[in-house]
């Protein structure tokens, strides 16, 4: 019966889309928001939430304990005050980026969904920057929230306006240091993760990179004298971060001499280089 084609094209109501086209900035924002949720495992099963939330929880508990000790016994814990908090607990941060970065980068490579992204009004560079921004935000959040808790604890027990102001001037360096840690750790971790499509391998590689460079710094600081000693921190990622923190806000036993700006330059170069390499990597990646 189907032979009796008359050539009629029936109008079954096809229509052009005439609504608003939300465009590139909207899709970048969506990707950012989606990636930020991915960092914490939101929108996925409970197993994906275990790691990010337990790490964030540990940081928060430590902050609560510090705030309580400070309020109750009026004892400050120098390694865990605002500006030193990220550095002292950097192991937790490494683990957090090693969990989150492969989730953002490796999973898309593994499932070969990049062609779907790049067929949208989203550019390759946009993709990289949105993912990086999401990771940076995630790491900053797990640091900033505990710092705010410590601030609230300090402010409520301060009792006077000048005490609260004092807490506030201590909080600001803490937030600045947190932002720097978030930027550097995220850029490095995302770059490493973008090289492997297997999350497990990527996570191992991220932690290996952080851990293996650390003793180089220690050895150089031990055997070197003068400038070698003061520049030793430049050989490891955590060393650069610690050096930069020391230069900005003082108060650590780390000896960086007058080379503070070198540490700042190293951090800027590191973030810039990693971002540039990420962009290059995603221009080449098959899709």
């Amino acid at each position: 019966m189907s032979e009796s084609a008359t050539g009629t094209i029936h109008d079954i109501g096809y229509q052009r889309y005439t609504g608003a086209r939300l465009g590139r900035s909207y899709s970048v924002r969506s990707l950012y928001a989606y990636s930020l949720r991915t960092v914490f495992g939101l929108g996925r099963g409970p197993k994906s939430k275990i790691f990010p939330f337990s790490l964030a929880g540990i940081l928060l508990v430590i902050a609560v304990v510090v705030a309580a000790v400070k309020a109750r016994f009026n004892v400050a814990i120098p390694p865990l005050d605002y500006a030193n908090f990220p550095g002292t607990l950097s192991f937790l941060l490494m683990l957090f980026v090693a969990t989150a970065a492969p989730e953002l980068a490796s999973r898309d490579l593994r499932n070969k969904v990049l062609p779907l992204y790049f067929s949208r009004p989203i550019g390759r560079d946009d993709y990289v920057l949105a993912k990086l921004a999401a990771l940076v935000t995630g790491v900053f959040l797990i640091l900033a929230v505990p710092e705010l808790v410590m601030f609230l604890g300090g402010a409520f027990s301060a009792g006077s306006a000048s005490g609260i102001w004092g807490q506030f001037t201590d909080l600001v360096p803490g937030l600045v240091v947190s932002a720097i840690f978030a930027l550097v750790l995220s850029a490095v971790a995302l770059l490493v993760s973008s090289l492997s499509s297997r999350r497990a391998i990527a996570a191992g590689a991220v932690v290996a990179l952080f851990l293996v460079t650390e003793p180089i710094n220690g050895v150089l600081a031990a055997i070197g004298t003068g400038a070698t000693r003061e520049l030793a921190g430049l050989t490891s990622i955590t060393g650069i971060l610690e050096g930069l923190r020391t230069w900005l806000f003082a108060g650590s036993e780390l000896d960086i001499g007058s080379y503070g700006p070198a540490y700042a330059a190293a951090a800027v170069v590191l973030v810039g280089l990693c971002t540039a390499l990420l962009i290059v990597r995603y221009r080449k990646v098959a899709s």
Partner: protein
Amino acid sequence: MSARTTVAPASGPRLFNPTIAGITLRGLLGRRRSLLLIPLPLVLIALSLLVRTGNVPTKDALQVVVTGLGVAVILPLTALIIGTSVLGSEIDDGTIVHILAKPVARREIVLTKYLIAAVVSGLVAGVSLLIAGTIVASVSVGVGFAVAGLIGAFVYSALFVLASLVIRRAVLVGLAYILLWEGLLGNVLDGTKVLSVQKYVSEFAATFSGSSLVHGPMSLILAIVMSAVLTVGALLIAVDRLRSFSMAGETS
């Protein structure tokens, strides 16, 4: 891999299967990701040469480089990457089904894969510890650390092979154990040494090197007993887990 051995009908309990060993070894070393294992020992050896040229007391150099980097970082990371991938990558790929469907005892599969993981990571870590210890101190110290590293690889591998069977995100759990338990808590709470493979290895290194430059953190007997208990226990549970293994979904 040359001669392809056919699996003979099992006569009595077999513990090692050369075919599975060959496949595992090829899967481990025949891929690009095995290159990941090269930089770690190189950094250790380069650092050893560096402290040798500087005027660092040998005791401190051993503490920072050989124990701090070799025993505390390179040994567990190598064992983790290898130990979780001998079975873990086959579970991820789904190819484990092909082995499970063969008339091969589960015990044989687990033990063969464990042996490959332990020997390969033991060789990588042991050789780099041998070279580092020899450069920094003396041959006897190097041998002491190498033997300790080899034993450590057998303990770590048992734990990580078990982890890859029980937990879906075994690498992350392993990293958390290395970073938080052995790294962060190990330096703060002395009591954690009873359950820290890193401390057993340090103790073995102190014993085997016979040098006063290396001091052990705990009693030797305790280290031996705990290593044996953890290794045997982990392997028994691993065999049991693989016996009742069911393929889970790919998500999460």
